[in-house]
Symmetry: C2
Subunit: 246 residues, 2 copies
């Protein structure tokens, strides 16, 4: 399971690590570092790397952050500089940094890296073992170049994480909590999962849905519907029967 830093901190880092471990689970990724437009980005990202290491998460997801006071060109250059500052610490901690290209509607305020190729250009400045990219269907589904970019990313060993969510309209105010479970919108999430797998990404395939209505429901229901969505709309067809038994 992927974890988020704020609820982990609230529950307690060591306690959360033990809870996951005792349940027989492992942490696939930690969300999120990045937000390099913030004043405390260096300290905060070093902390995030350490937290990922403590949790046994192999990957720290980096949401690059918005413009802040910078121009778009300068903000993008700053992301490269921030990565350079963080890579030695990540290497030492054994945590891979995963740059997440964000949907262009977040370019101003959440992530100035808007496409898979921009993320790959940044990652290419560093060893593939330490810096990769995230393929999140919600952010990249609209890009007609995405299929060839996934191939390139896989061939270069740069796919560090896969996350699936569906696109539903109308978008809510602030456009943050409008995602749908795979199968509820217009994205061919199964094609994406098959593409990253064919490109050599070994998994895991995460589902990551920001949706206020979904979050308001009881946990067991969310888990049930998420598993159903995963089986029906994410996992490759050949593996469905096997998974359907569980």
């Amino acid at each position: 399971m992927g974890l988020w830093r704020a609820p982990v901190a609230e529950y307690g880092l060591a306690r959360a690590a033990k809870l996951v471990h005792d349940a027989g689970l492992s942490v696939s990724s930690l969300c999120r570092g990045g937000f390099f437009s913030a004043d405390d980005w260096l300290t905060d990202n070093r902390d995030a790397i350490d937290e990922a290491a403590t949790l046994g998460a192999p990957v720290l997801i980096l949401v690059p952050g918005g413009l802040g006071a910078r121009s778009l060109d300068a903000a993008r250059a700053h992301v490269a500089a921030a990565l350079e500052a963080l890579v030695p610490h990540a290497e030492e901690a054994g945590v891979r940094l995963a740059i997440e290209p964000m949907h262009p509607m977040y370019c101003a305020d959440r992530g100035v890296v808007s496409t898979v190729d921009s993320a790959l250009d940044l990652a290419a400045l560093f060893p593939a073992s330490t810096v990769g990219v995230v393929i999140d269907t919600y952010h990249v589904w609209w890009d007609e170049r995405v299929w060839s970019l996934i191939e390139s990313a896989g061939a270069a060993g740069r796919i560090a994480s896969f996350q699936a969510a569906d696109w539903i309209t109308p978008l809510p105010e602030g456009v943050l909590l409008g995602r749908g479970l795979p199968g509820t919108g217009c994205v061919d999430t199964r094609r994406f999962a098959a593409a990253v797998t064919a490109a050599g990404y070994p998994g895991p395939l995460e589902i990551e849905v920001f949706n206020a209505e979904l979050w308001a429901r009881p946990g067991p229901e969310i888990l049930r519907d998420t598993i159903r969505s995963y089986v029906d709309h994410v996992v490759p067809a050949g593996e469905r029967n096997h998974l359907g038994e569980h």
Copy 2:
């Protein structure tokens, strides 16, 4: 001035044409044809071409429309087919069709052509005198390839329209009416105007702002602030003094 079809229809097409002409103005573009996902797209777009001709608008802006019942690949292929069906009528009417790449947040429901290069690929199937592209800052500002794409588009004689609006956050529900006048957000609108001009586009430079608050204000105030925004944030610096006198 750019006109919109619905208010023109409400006022009366011939009456609107006369009103604009008698005021000593000309129509720079008509918004909008397109929406090729609609059942009546062919009739509706033929009508739009005829209306543009009646108004003396040299350009009909095409918003390609969303997915409808199609997959993304099929919807994009359908845009090409629709253009092919419309080009002879547009040529006959002397109206240039301008494909508008829409911000990727509109890909599902308003426009499946998401980048300038996708729009150029479509336009390239037809003569430049009949099919061009729109450079609208609101839709393309986030794309780091946009400066070289504007150069290519200009060199190929494909820039048919320029529209400026600024990006402001948070986005409103439905993300349609959240634009700002140039200068109120994070887009370097002057750089865009300079880029299309340098690429050989002879103008006009339109301001197109969808904003409920702005629209609610008295017309003369809107006009005053729009002219101010144009002088301060759109028109090339060398022409400012001249314009400021008016």
